[in-house]
Symmetry: C2
């Protein structure tokens, strides 16, 4: 009697863990394409030490009941699509200190982490670019993000110069020291799908302007000021976000809004200095990777 | 009275430190080009936690007397060219636990570290790709290396798919866990310049074959076996290196030769198991970066 792929997997592989940095996008433009591998965004953001840990265990099928976020069953279309593309079935447990749907790339991180963990767990022999392509295409097809996956795979302070997964897209980065402190507060979630499915012309024009301006003087401080200008021009600011950015700037700091969430991020002690009680993390130079392979 | 750039630098900037992972190339092919930014190598290797720390201080000129390696004055043409291209003058102190001219990318690491440190120290506002391009071109022009700089900038287990600095070159990577142990022993140095200035046709043909073979099943173990085949086909093995690789393989491990040095690297405890007393390090997932900016 022959075994199915699922049965074979259950017998030969063990739990595997991957870590993917969180990612806040400061500004972006939307670049649709019929092929989700080529679709994506241009823009800039920060990869964060607060990230997404994915623990993957072989299973007979990947289903809604086999994906958990903080212990609760959730539907994560980007994760399901990633595993389907890789032709494996697994249970996936996602853990993160980051708020969900608040602009930190949790869904993209879960997809990318699942891809890296599955590659190690099932000995898929894919390269890093191939895994990034699978997770990016799954995230784009799910409608939950356009640029987080390629940025999270790179780490640091990624500039997304051309949209899409490798080898289609092109990245650069702003050099910063590894332990540069980042603070954030989140007032709630925004639906990336709802905004991306609407008219994005004004947003994209503002995003293209921000990228061109940043490239004239690519520093972290300039990234944040270009992001704040973008958030205003694209009319994405809520009252609470607007007030927090203004408070940080009044205290001499630099802050902007995470795309897309009702979230403010600041350099150094910006939010603390303005009287907020932020979460504290740092820039994460490495990209996604496997942290605990199977028990072999 | 107007100040020169050097005088201005002395007054406004402080010491800055960058870290660059070491890098052993397992196999490579040579791809010359009139423009050193486009010249380079295809191949594969490992970025290592044993690396190069560069401490840079503004100076009135960059000269032989202003560059030190382990406290001794040295000539490092790749470093001098890097600083000249960036139009700054500095004292550069290079420290490393790695043997020099033994295939670990110390010269490329010194050039890349100097580029990152100079960017932070002098507020040059260059992107990471731009800094990599400057250091890569300096290393190629100096004749001391063809592919270490782009690999060291990336980290992990870099596959050099297309030669040259970004945006000319193209990289991928083999996913491995961060703490994967690597051992090495070095019996002495080989001159990269001497080998690269000779006939490299046989070497390059073997390197292209190794890359094509590795890409059929891109794993770390396969990288090492493709490297060992390359070293034999390119006739680069010395007796001591050949004996060490054979001893590791006889003990059930995987080892090959670092290009270009009389150096053997092995996965996990390969050299220890074969009775050697190796240096021990690990794969280093992040690329080069500033670890201590100026005192601001």
């Amino acid at each position: 009697m022959s075994m199915s792929a699922g049965e074979r997997s259950e017998r030969t592989a063990n739990p595997t863990q991957a870590f993917v940095p969180g990612h806040v996008t400061g500004f972006f433009s939307v670049h649709p394409h019929d092929d989700p591998r080529n679709a994506g965004s241009r823009g800039a953001g920060l990869a964060l030490t607060d990230g997404v840990t994915v623990t993957l265990t072989p299973a007979n099928e990947t289903a809604a009941t086999t994906i958990t976020l903080g212990g609760e069953s959730v539907e994560m279309a980007a994760v399901t699509r990633t595993l389907d593309t890789l032709d494996v079935a697994a249970r996936v447990a996602v853990e993160t200190p980051l708020p969900v749907s608040a602009g930190f790339g949790v869904s993209g991180g879960a997809a990318l982490g699942a891809a890296f963990a599955a590659n190690a767990c099932f000995d898929l022999e894919r390269t890093e670019n191939e895994l990034v392509e699978v997770a990016h295409a799954a995230e784009v097809a799910a409608g939950t993000g356009l640029g987080d996956v390629v940025a999270q795979a790179r780490g640091g302070v990624p500039l997304r110069l051309e949209p899409g997964a490798p080898p289609h897209g092109a990245l650069d980065g702003i050099p910063v020291r590894a332990d540069r402190r980042i603070e954030y507060v989140s007032f709630g979630g925004r639906s990336t799908e709802a905004i991306l499915s609407g008219d994005t012309d004004i947003l994209s024009a503002a995003g293209e302007r921000a990228l061109a301006t940043l490239r004239e003087a690519p520093t972290l401080e300039h990234l944040v000021s270009c992001s704040a200008a973008f958030a205003r021009e694209a009319e994405l600011l809520t009252e609470r976000v607007d007030a927090a950015i203004a408070a940080v700037e009044a205290a001499g700091g630099a802050a902007s809004m995470a795309m897309l969430g009702e979230t403010v991020f600041a350099l150094d002690t910006g939010l603390s200095d303005a009287g907020y009680e932020p979460s504290i993390c740092a820039i994460h130079p490495p990209g996604a990777g496997v942290v605990r392979p199977d028990a072999k």
